[in-house]
Symmetry: C2
Subunit: 646 residues, 2 copies
């Protein structure tokens, strides 16, 4: 076996690898985490490194110019080590991690009708007869008999880890105990009763009972810490899903999960993120001292891939035709079964999804948006890395998912980035000089453009004629900002002198195509849903937008590029993270939990990849705002007024 | 903190310990296992060591003569280290381990009426419709729907670890699978269905389905490997319970379990023993290649303490008045929950016990002895470290347990030992010369006396007048074998010249008292049971003796010392290991399993420690054969004929 030595960043200690190893793998050995948003497929170009000594064999040289190559630049995920080498990893490509908490804290109230008796997690105070020489009943039977006599529960599920402590708890409490049971009504009338915790003595009557609602997004994990007794939310926290370092979209994660050890690593990463959030949330609570061990129940919303990874179930078949997930409704679990560091016996209720690309985040979102309870024809939209949408009302629901790609999250675009400090989030172009103006998140100098900035930029370029309806840049305009770049025509949004890194921030023809594809996919989804039920899209009475995507979205510009249908602006409502809100409702009441089950059961899912109507709608939507310009009367009107000499 | 260096057996590397550490603890640090049958209480005297350099402080010097002490001998469990010392551990005191397999292999047939359809662990062959773009049902729902449609099962419990594999299994088998379900009928008519395993493709129709019946004894663990399809036992193996090194009786184990880390250690030890037995049993099977992972179900019999330790449940309250166990019936578990290295999803069914000292070994024993199905008034007896007994018939059952102590297992007696090679198992004394003759297990020279040897010896000494009915040695007899020893009078069974170790093998007055107490406790138990139901003990129609105790027992001599009631010998039947046999029956049919539940439910338990009648019966039984000599007419007759000049 031939081995080679690989030195990273001039370190004294090289790592030794087998011939044929990739630089990304060698870096992992050296304890260096190289950012691979596309999951190591050579697509995203984010793992660029410089080989300063020795040579590598490149599987692919996509995204690299001849000059880059001559300087030793290569994509680490495509570079096969065949001799001793030295590698430099540019500082800015290291994984960035940042709490996004403050951006997601929102005011949410429990449903106005909420009362503790709607909570399935019940607290009971029991006083048992102590045993003696005449009554030799064992502790467990004594407890179960009391539960039968006092509460009518015939069968109670008790985990072995709880059994281990009941002997001591009963005696410490002198046969007076506080017991927590999750009592779930069942269709046959006999409730399913699970013992969750038992404490010596009778605790305070109205002290909090802690639970958590969790939304596992591909990018961000959100957790709300809730008092199940009052329904009050005591902390709201969010953080990047630590899986990001193994791929930025669900497909990259699935590919990574298929690698040796990949699934376990991804599960540990996301569970680690949740465990961190639990710690942070507990510390944020005011007036009470809460420990992770106090959390007795969680509900989890997530897209289908994230749910599989959370439970360590291989998601492989989600990306293979005909795209079937292993489960839509997971069994009820206990926290200790998946490594959650809350109370080990805590109930983990993973909410049900519908299909591989319409998960529990959508069913929970439909609930919290109230869509299953309205007479109005409603379009519900949750755009994250994928675009999921639901059309309907309390009568019926149809749903589909479009692989919009990660362009709106800033990936797959040359100067794209996530919506954090330094991201251009809004652009304005002067329609005479073609000079742009922009707003940067956090103020300061820009270092890239985030999703809302890209939508804004695309709309402005179109409305000002910098690009035509097919997305071609107009090279005849009198501005140095439109120029021939390495990968074709491009528009300079910020000169190097204005940016953090000293390089020009541009949008290229390739980027524009990616954005067109993303917006076309979403709009085509709307059309297919409407056509499937024979309802004109324009009859939509309200558009509810969930997810972080909506938060900074400019409706006007989204309509201008044909991403959203041309409806009066007042029909659009931004609801924030509808998924975690739905999980919160399900955490509080069995009625909400049942409604999510019913939503999942009644949603008709349309798989677009096999749908010719979708393909046609997609092709028609690849223009700005659309081939059928009549669908966008307000945009026609705006263009007319813009281009009419003032 | 003062620390000291302790050198063991002249090793180069001393261990360093805190002042106040016991020698037993220091030895553990040095990787040396000192045998502590009494659990470190200074009772049994088996952990004797010699301190050759330095001094220790003795908590107790029981069982040591002044001469022993002057030579540095001490009990390692009582010796507190307060300075640097050197210690010698006599070779013969190291833990002995030995397979006892061959002694326990027995011929057992499944019940004659057994047929595979009585087995709750069912094998089904399913052929599913593959999914497509029209039918997007997830894998789990598809499987559960088929189980509902084909078999009528509304709810199926599936562990997360099985969920992880179903996606791949369904596709590997091209939607044809073999599935194993444990289908347990319930009283409400709806069976409790647990998924145990799923394999791609339809496997052979009548290939074996592997299961195991296990009896966890305080001393010995027994495992039978069974084909659940045919009921045939393919291997029978047994081994010492590895917990022995932490105490020889249940009380010592409970005390050890209360120490820091003790419970977990004891659980790991017994699970380790079972895992070893599984390996050995699999290799023993002829004609089939069996792997531990093929075992899909186990039933477990054990005394109550062993069952608690097996599941890692603290047994503390078993030894504290009023002697209440934490559970009598454990929930059904999966193998992976307790570290059993068989199929991780395998069903682990721990059979129900009755009380702290009447466990599942007895309920299973009553079943396999057929006692719950007979019209005959039956006395069932299982003497191990404790003596458990049941009186009754199919109409009623009463039970109690006597702490006979470990004398009949060779512990608590100066030259006592377990029934292994070198043990004297039968003794005869010449009633004129008072010279003994004896038989040694394995032939060869003796090194001690086992339980059956002690019973035999006691009976011979009594019948020949070496001791009187109170157990006093007759110093007036013309034999050098009766002499004053270190601890009072003693009788020499074997001179040093005949023994393995060159020391005399003796039975002392103290030993005789221990044996008297043991036999008195058991006989008193019989009497109390009979009195509790108002039936004369002599009306017993059969005596069924389970456990290893009965195997080499001499009925005649047991009656002579008043251990067994004076009934015609043909009424006594030795049944071998009734506990594992009962577990085997419960493994095969739900009807047997239900009968054990009913046995446990209908047995009336009498707690003797609070029973004055027991105390009186015990005191009366402290004589040979008994204070009320009329209870033992055959013994009276034998003595008369012996002492009548020939």
């Amino acid at each position: 076996m031939t081995v080679h030595r690989v030195t990273f960043n001039h370190r004294a200690e090289p790592v030794t690898v087998k011939s044929g190893t990739l630089i990304t793998e060698a870096a992992k050995l050296a304890g260096i985490d190289i950012h691979q948003p596309c999951g190591g497929q050579g697509r995203c170009g984010r793992c660029i490194v410089q080989v300063t000594e020795g040579k590598v064999r490149l599987r692919s040289s996509l995204r690299l110019s001849a000059e880059d190559l001559s300087l030793g630049y290569c994509l680490a995920c495509q570079a096969v080590i065949e001799g001793d080498i030295s590698v430099l990893i540019p500082e800015q490509e290291r994984i960035e991690r940042r709490l996004v908490t403050d951006r997601t804290a929102v005011e949410v109230e429990p449903p106005p009708t909420y009362a503790p008796n709607q909570q399935t997690l019940k607290r009971y105070f029991l006083t048992l007869e102590p045993p003696d020489y005449e009554d030799q009943t064992d502790d467990l039977s004594r407890l179960l008999t009391q539960l039968r006599v006092d509460l009518g529960f015939e069968e109670v599920e008790i985990p072995i880890t709880l059994l281990k402590k009941i002997g001591t708890v009963l005696r410490e409490g002198n046969w007076r105990v506080t017991i927590f049971l999750d009592v779930v009504p069942c269709r046959n009338g006999v409730p399913h009763v699970r013992m969750v915790e038992i404490f010596p003595e009778h605790c305070e009557d109205d002290s909090p009972i802690w639970g958590a609602a969790i939304d596992i997004g591909t990018t961000t994990v959100t957790l709300w810490l809730v008092d199940l007794w009052t329904g009050v939310i005591h902390a709201q926290v969010a953080e990047y899903n630590a899986q990001i370092r193994r791929g930025e979209d669900v497909i990259s994660r699935i590919i990574y999960a298929d690698k040796d050890g990949g699934l376990q690593e991804l599960q540990e990463l996301v569970v680690g993120t949740i465990n961190q959030l639990v710690e942070v949330a507990c510390k944020r609570v005011k007036h009470y001292e809460v420990k992770p061990n106090d959390i007795l129940k969680v509900t989890v919303a997530a897209n289908t891939t994230m749910m599989h990874l959370f439970l360590g179930v291989p998601p492989s078949y989600i990306r293979l035709a005909p795209f079937i997930p292993t489960f839509s409704q997971a069994p009820i679990l206990r926290a200790q079964e998946i490594g959650l560091k809350i109370n080990p016996h805590a109930i983990v209720d993973c909410l049900p999804g519908v299909a591989s690309y319409v998960g529990a985040d959508i069913t929970a979102g439909v609930l919290s948006a109230g869509m299953d309870d309205t007479d109005k024809l409603t379009l519900f939209l949750d755009v994250g890395t994928n675009g999921e949408m639901v059309l309907g009302s309390k009568e019926w629901l149809v749903t589909c998912a479009c692989s919009a790609g990660p362009a709106f999250e800033g990936a797959g675009v040359r100067d794209g980035m996530r919506a954090t400090d330094g991201a251009i989030e809004e652009v304005w172009i002067n329609s005479e000089t073609y000079e742009p103006d922009y707003r940067v998140i956090g103020g300061g100098k820009p270092r890239g453009i985030c999703g809302s900035g890209l939508i804004s930029l695309l709309a402005e370029m179109f409305m000002t004629g910098v690009i035509d309806k097919a997305g071609n840049l107009n090279a005849n305009l009198p501005t140095p900002r439109i120029r021939e770049g390495e990968h074709g025509m491009e528009y300079v949004v910020a000169w190097g002198s204005e940016t953090q890194h000293g390089r020009d921030i541009v949008v290229t023809r390739v980027d524009i195509d990616n954005l067109l594809r993303a917006k076309a996919a979403i709009y085509a989804g709307f059309l297919v849903l409407a056509q499937s039920v024979g309802v004109p899209l324009e009859e939509t009475e309200q558009v509810l937008i969930g997810g972080s995507f909506g938060k900074y979205l400019n409706i006007e510009k989204s309509i201008q590029i044909g991403l959203l249908p041309d409806l009066p602006w007042e029909k659009f409502h931004f609801l924030g993270n509808t998924a975690v809100k739905g999980a919160y409702y399900a955490l509080l009441t069995h009625e909400s939990r049942e409604r999510i089950r019913e939503i999942a059961a009644k949603m008709t899912y349309i798989e677009l990849s096999a749908d010719n109507a979708f393909y046609e709608a997609f092709m028609s939507a690849m223009f700005l705002p659309h081939t059928e310009i009549l669908r966008f009367p307000s945009v026609m009107e705006a263009i007319r007024s813009l281009r009419t000499p003032q």
